[in-house]
Symmetry: C2
Subunit: 278 residues, 2 copies
């Protein structure tokens, strides 16, 4: 019961992750240009574009490739068309700090505007299709398309709010609550993208999740196991199945493990959730 859907998901990842030397079909089939209108749709912007003649170039990246690096001169913004990435900062001691996991519809590279060079780097976690948006072109278009200009400001503001919410999370929540929210966040994003919000594969390592959430990889792993044990989710390596999204949403702190392991209530609840899903 648990196995089949998960292997389905995994096979999905595998096919993406291993394009054989000959099997470059994903690249050949890839779309190479998008109109301004398509870009706006991707960004969930409601701009009525009249002069829809401008075309933005796409670029394909394989897992592990860098889209931009720290210190590189800024001239582009990027929009994810497909695939998963991570954006990281590197501190003075060379330690990575994961800042986010851009996915379909997200814009990244905004941090580069300020100093005219990127202060972060973004790496593809899977094969990706990314739209290149020359910043100068974009802002010029904004001057003649009022709605687009508003949208640019809106996207930048949205990123700021997202970052602020992250500060709130890191500053005040327990490890369990952070991991729970991370799962909710992923679930919602997958659902928005038209995939299942209740079962999906993580594209990032425990290390990356932990770093993002201000935790160690061991704590992330243990927390997944704990959620699994009480029936909130099922975990098998990267494969996640969410059984009780609402509990994840509102979770603040798990009851101590000594109370968790052998209580009738917990078992009942877990059983009930299984039933509800099935």
């Amino acid at each position: 019961m648990l196995t089949s859907p998960m292997t389905d998901l995994r096979s999905n990842t595998v096919s993406l992750a291993t394009p054989s030397p000959s099997g470059t079909s994903w690249q050949r089939q890839a779309k190479l240009w998008s109109s301004l209108k398509e870009v706006c749709d991707l960004l969930r912007i409601s701009a009525r574009i009249v002069n829809d003649d401008f075309q933005f170039q796409h670029m394909q990246f394989k897992a592990g490739q860098r889209i931009h690096t720290i210190g590189q001169p800024f001239d582009m913004l990027y929009i994810v068309n497909s695939g998963f990435l991570k954006t990281v900062m590197i501190d003075e001691l060379g330690n990575e700090q994961v800042l986010g996991f851009p996915m379909k519809g997200d814009m990244f590279g905004i941090d580069g505007i300020h100093r005219k060079q990127y202060s972060t780097e973004t790496v593809a976690l899977t094969n990706c299709d990314v739209i290149l948006v020359p910043f100068k072109t974009f802002s010029t278009l904004g001057r003649t398309h009022a709605e687009l200009e508003a949208a640019i400001y809106g996207v930048m503001s949205r990123e700021l709010v997202r970052e602020q919410a992250m500060v709130g999370t890191l500053g005040s929540l327990s490890a369990e609550a952070r991991v729970a929210r991370f799962l909710v966040f992923l679930s919602e994003r997958f659902a928005e993208m038209g995939y299942s919000g209740s079962q999906f594969n993580l594209r990032m390592t425990r290390q990356e999740i932990g770093n993002y959430l201000g935790l160690t990889l061991e704590t992330v792993s243990r927390t997944f196991s704990a959620f699994n044990a009480i029936g909130m989710i099922s975990v098998d390596q990267r494969a996640i199945m969410i059984h009780d999204l609402q509990s994840l949403r509102t979770l603040r702190r798990l009851p101590p493990s000594r109370l968790r392991n052998k209580t009738e209530a917990a078992k009942k609840r877990a059983a009930g959730q299984q039933m509800a899903v099935a």
Copy 2:
């Protein structure tokens, strides 16, 4: 002249029209309007403004007053001309999360663009003089002043980078390192403003600092005391004197207190432990 535009803007600013009988001098002397050029200087923007005729209104707030509140319809950006404030988010349980301490030259309210209403609120910690920047006016001016437009994007990007740095801090640094960096940050800002960077008064409580840094007020207090004990700084309530800025900059972790306080005892105890183990 003063009353009508302010009552137009915000109901909670009505109180400004009725200042207390005794302490009005700072208000009477306050500057009421700034040109676009002056605004750009304040933001540290190098825009060559030709048509320098537009005027932005100032507004004075007393300590404790709110400049904007959560959920309030967005139409203004704000720039601090003088004074100190705090920006806070409030989570679903009503807990405050301090996001920043805007001071001279900082812009706030940017978070409101995204959803057309503010997602944060900003409160004056001291009496303040704030410049009101109607967002629509600002972006319109940007269309004709290329450098101003670039500057607007730049300021928004700067805020994003600042928030990202904060995530990095919360995610990876010890309590001591966070407090140390906070002091360095304040020192640098005071120096930029033309005040002493080595001797200043905190404008915020331990509670607010702790909340901002993801720590409890007790931890902040203890950390100040520890820095004081080793001579890095002097603390007396809100008064701070920084003796060793460089150490604060690079501090990662303090040596354990038992090694700090009484070296002889520590050596003995360490020796004892060695013996016990051997």
